[in-house]
């Protein structure tokens, strides 16, 4: 299966998907030292985003969240790629300054959690290898 979206920040990435149905606030919601989601009551609370294809509808919260993505990248705790339904300023700017491949405008509800996926952000695609 290949889903087609649009490029936010280019780059190639592969890894396991980590799918959330909720918005993510990187500032305050994700610990930049450990990469763990720490927002109380979040459906990813306690999960680590490091190296994952992180899939969520859209960003929320403080604009300082862009710097949190940069800090995650410096700490080698950043996700391998970000996939949104509708990317907004905080996540987009964070991906540009942290150089994290990012795409949006695709039906994220069709993306299974924990699946192996490849993102070609320049082409705006996420693809899954069918299980043999």
């Amino acid at each position: 299966m290949i889903l087609q979206g649009r490029e936010i920040y280019p780059g190639l990435a592969s890894g396991q998907t980590l799918v959330s149905k909720m918005g993510i606030s990187f500032y305050g919601g994700v610990d930049p030292e450990s990469g763990l989601v720490v927002e109380k009551g979040h459906d990813l609370e306690g999960q680590c985003i490091e190296g994952k294809i992180l899939v969520f509808p859209t960003g929320k919260g403080s604009t300082v969240g862009s710097y949190t993505l940069f800090r995650l990248a410096k700490n080698r705790r950043a996700p391998a790629a970000i996939v949104n339904s509708a990317c907004e300023t905080i996540t987009a700017v964070g991906c540009i300054i942290a150089e994290i491949p990012c795409i949006d405008s695709l039906p994220i509800e069709r993306i299974p959690d924990g699946a192996y996926a490849k993102v070609d952000a320049k082409q705006g695609t996420i693809s899954f290898t069918d299980p043999d």
Binding site: R6, I8, Y9, Y27, P32, S62, T63, V64, S66, Y67, T68, F70, R71, K74, C87, E88, T89, I90, A92, V93, I96, I97, D104
Partner: protein, 397 residues
């Protein structure tokens, strides 16, 4: 999006790494929000200045941009920092924090930013004109610039504001466009509103009903509002409602261009009383911290504090937060000496929202609805909100 030859050259790294990264941010935002072109900006105000918010990563990015040859192309000022740049020791700031904060300021200075740190740049010369496109980030100043001045800005983040400063452009979307400035909701105010603290309560009462849905309120029933009242209202409406623009009949310049929308909500005395009550969680005897200057005080407000404190002694830790230029005027006028003789402290370049004061106090007294929000949410203080003059009186009891 259509880019000019100059803008394309910036994107293609022909003007250095920092300008390339800056244009990449702007072009991407333009693409996301469907901008047709870039607009030249005449003024920038950057947020994300306090080291308490930026952290080492934010500082590293700013240093990279400065080292990458970034230089501002238009008048650019900064939001409050985490400390008084000249007088941080007196406010109990650690040497370690001060060192990091000064590196942040140095990075901005290297890029040609005017390093006056304030949320009220419009009070000292960074004053955009009606209809001008600007890129501001501080939420209360964004609301003030759009609504009260009639300038045009989206609510930028720190990096996107810096990107606008380094290129001189911002993508044409959101509040830069006529159609996005149209009011979507009428707010009929039936209560009498007067003073910064009531305007703050009004901002919360309305903001709580907007819920960050990008609504543009058309406020009716407020017959007059001075600079300080509007400053307080903007801060509160932006904090509680995420609003970047409102119109106020008979008060703001664009209110005459629009009809009041059909969808209407009413705000009466009970709504204001409830908002006030929600910002009064501390008993008077619990207060151990008093703060005036959110947003930063005008010269008129500093003068009023001096008048009220003349010959008296404050009994609690009392911070007066304002911009460096206003402090210098207050020094010249003799207000600062009166205020300091009474035992109150100037905390210039900073404020109670961005200074690292979590755990230092138990309960804060202020006239500001915005200050109360962050005191509760960020610093876990109890809060007490009173009219401006009463705050000064109670600080002396």
């Amino acid at each position: 999006m259509k880019l000019t030859h100059e803008q394309q050259a910036m994107l293609d790294s022909k003007q250095g790494l920092a300008t390339h990264k800056a244009m990449q941010i702007l072009a991407t935002l333009g693409r996301i929000y469907g901008a047709a072109e870039m607009l030249p900006v005449s003024s920038v105000q950057i947020s994300g200045v306090s080291y308490d918010n930026l952290g080492e990563a934010g500082l590293a990015w700013l240093a990279e941009m400065a080292a990458g040859g970034g230089r501002v192309k238009v008048l650019t000022t900064l939001n409050p920092a985490g400390m008084d740049i000249e007088n941080w020791q007196a406010l109990g700031i650690s040497a370690e924090f001060a060192e990091a904060q000064l590196r942040v300021i140095a990075a901005f200075e290297q890029m040609g930013v005017v390093t006056t740190c304030s949320c009220t740049p419009y009070l000292f010369g960074n004053l955009p004109e009606f209809g001008q496109h600007i890129a501001w980030a501080e939420s209360s100043a964004v609301c003030y610039a759009n609504s009260v001045l009639g300038a045009r800005t989206n609510r930028e983040g720190g990096p996107s504001a810096l990107a606008a400063a380094l290129t001189g452009f911002t993508p044409a979307y959101g509040y830069h466009l006529d159609k996005q400035r149209k009011p979507t909701l009428t707010v009929e105010v039936t209560a009498k509103v007067c003073g910064t603290h009531y305007f703050g309560a009004l901002g919360k009462a309305i903001g709580d009903r907007l819920q960050g849905k990008g609504q543009v309120a058309y406020v009716r029933g407020v017959t007059s509002a001075n600079l300080e009242e509007l400053k307080s209202f903007c801060a509160s409406l932006a904090t509680y409602g995420g609003a970047a623009l409102f119109h106020m009949q008979g008060v703001t310049p664009e209110s005459t261009l629009f009809e009041a929308p059909e969808e209407t909500i009413r705000i009466d005395g009970n709504h204001l009383a409830l908002a006030e009550q929600q910002l009064n969680t501390a008993r008077p005897e619990e207060v151990d911290f008093v703060s005036l200057g959110c947003p930063h005080l005008s010269l008129r407000e500093v003068a009023r504090i001096a008048q009220l404190l003349n010959g008296r002694q404050v009994k609690k830790e009392f911070w007066i937060t304002t911009s460096r230029p206003v402090k210098k005027l207050a020094d010249q006028a003799g207000y600062s000496q009166v205020i300091e003789a009474a035992g109150a402290k100037f905390a210039v370049d900073t404020c109670c929202v961005v200074a690292p004061i979590k755990g230092r106090f138990h309960a804060m007294l202020s006239d500001s609805a915005k200050a109360c929000y962050y005191a509760q949410a960020k610093n876990q203080f109890k809060v007490r909100m009173l009219p401006f003059d009463e705050v000064v009186q109670e600080a002396c009891q």
